[in-house]
């Protein structure tokens, strides 16, 4: 018969083992991606595969920067960052209005979030034709506008939930204490939903960062994003695995950095949203 203490230890051990196995399963592709990016072509194609490169070789990255391909990561950063900033600003104000003044009636919020459910493929070609008309194809403005528009419903929906969670009395107290509405938003609402703002901003940023279909159709050479650039390395004759992996690694780094800085708020933010439902 097992004692309670031993059973508990066994239980804990099993859970730990499962956690480690899961982590390994999820981390391995990322590990492999980074390892390939540091390998020489011979090492990449060697069989049996080498688990790690002989020495850290930055040549694959150097090629990307020398040929100017790395600028596509910069393009991704610019459009994702600016579109996130605009969507967060406009969306939060809009959400405040919906939450506190029931602007547009009770159903407007539902209608807005329904816009997010449009499959991108259904609208991307009409948008392309419009963009040709307006001369927005392959411009920062065009891509930023599109990502902003696509993210706004999500931002509005999420921020509306977070704002509804703030006790009204906090805002009323500030109104009595000498603030106008804008000051209330800046001094009460923003600090109160800092976690929600962070979580929403990350999701918004990641959407823009990961987008492929819009960028593929709406960019050519000037503002092509890194996701589009990677497809250029898949050739009819051969695939440039070194470039693919180096570019992919570059593409994951900004997300890692963003998550590292905002993890605390992010976790709190999504769990807040979970309670709200």
């Amino acid at each position: 018969m097992m004692t309670l203490g031993r059973r508990r230890a066994l239980h804990l051990g099993l859970r730990l083992a499962a956690a480690i196995a899961l982590t390994l399963a999820f981390m391995f592709p990322i590990y492999w991606l980074f390892m390939i990016s540091f390998k020489t072509p011979e090492e990449i194609y060697s069989f049996p595969p080498k688990w790690y490169p002989g020495h850290l070789n930055f040549g694959n990255y150097a090629v990307l920067f020398r040929d100017g391909d790395a600028v596509t990561v910069w393009n991704s950063l610019v459009v994702a960052f600016i579109s996130t900033a605009i969507a967060m600003f406009l969306g939060s104000i809009c959400a405040y209005s919906l939450a506190r003044f029931a602007t547009g009636g009770r159903q407007l919020a539902n209608w807005i979030v329904s816009q997010r459910m449009i499959p991108p493929i259904a609208v991307v070609f009409p948008i392309f034709l419009l963009y040709v008309w307006f001369g927005l194809v392959d411009t920062y403005l065009g891509v930023i506008l599109l990502y902003t528009a696509f993210n706004l419903p999500y931002v509005i929906w999420m921020m509306r939930g977070y704002i509804l969670d703030i006790p009204r009395a906090l805002e009323e107290s500030a109104l009595v204490d000498g603030c106008n509405r804008w000051q209330v938003i800046w001094r009460v609402v923003v600090p109160m939903c800092r976690a929600g703002l962070s979580a929403t901003a990350i999701f918004t940023f990641v959407f823009a960062w990961n987008d492929f279909i819009f960028a593929l159709v709406l960019t050519r050479t000037e503002v092509a994003t890194y996701t589009v650039q990677i497809t250029h390395y898949f050739g009819g004759q051969s695939n440039f695995w070194a470039k693919i992996s180096a570019m992919s690694a570059l593409g994951t780094v900004p997300i890692f950095i963003a998550m590292a800085f905002m993890q605390r708020y992010f976790v709190r933010g999504i769990s807040l949203g979970a309670v709200k439902g």
Partner: protein, 366 residues
Amino acid sequence: MADLKITALHKYYGEVHAVRGVDLEIPAGEFTVLVGPSGCGKSTLLRTIAGLEDADDGTIEIGGEVVNHLAPRNRDIAMVFQNYALYPYMNVFDNIAFGLRSRNTPKREIEPKVRRTAQMLAIGHLLDRYPRQLSGGQLQRVAIGRAVVRNARLYLFDEPLSNLDAQLRDEMRGEIKRLHQELGKTMIYVTHDQIEAMTMADRIVLLRDGKIEQAGAPLDLFERPTSKYVAGFLGSPTMNFIAARLVAAGEGLDLQLEDGTTLPLPRGRFDKLLDRRDASVILGVRPEHMSRTRPGQERPGLARLEAVIELLQPTGARTYATFNFGGTRAIAELQSHEVSAINQKIELSIDMNRVILIDPSSSAVL
């Protein structure tokens, strides 16, 4: 000069007519309590004064100036909310300083003002703490501090003590009253608790269904209510209401209860009711105006009543005794040593000089 003057104020929430024509004048420096059951419009009235709700009709004047169109921040008011409404991301110092900073008070004035207010409220040692590290009573002190640190014309309190436990509530009641005496400011305080109203107010405004039922000094309302509603709302245990009939007795009037008992009314006091002979009335008797008859106790205006005790609720020095009073269950507040057991038969003396008579159709006090 009146610090606050309200004229014919109306407020609707959709179909609901929450405030129905309130006229009210509050002199400078007075502590006024708006009291009434939930849904009587007292909080709405306060919020309309603060500007957090728009008045649908009527005017609100603060310091002689009509403020209907002014935003809350321009009304020169400070307010304490029921749920404290402290900013969780600011420490106590910053919470108290919030209003001063919003109004661009010079920096060198903020610190001494905050410290003085904190001292006054005995929270001087908590200035670095965050709201989540404070107890309910401390939170409420900070909330009060945030309001009184500012030099406003009008201070509004929206049920500030209703989240506290009974002991703390008693303590804070005294604290707020002391604060009022120290500051001498005009304060309006909303509560549903009649004891808070009685103990704190210079003047009580009793609201019912969005209208003022009666306003006046606490003891005025307590001793000279104008309606059955007011008589029943103030006092604990509440006033006993017993159906009765006015009957002729020589020159004057007596009361006859439903079970045939006759109680003599003091001569002179109810002379204006002589033409109501044989009319139905409701007798209002406060529990504390009844006592067990002592041998040799004889004084004009005392009426005798046989009572069988049905229930005893001792509270310490006093005991609430339930008995059948002319067909109605009533409570008498007796000295604890005067009663001992249920089914005990005792004789009660009722102070008829202090009873009230109510017209059953209009519920007005006669």
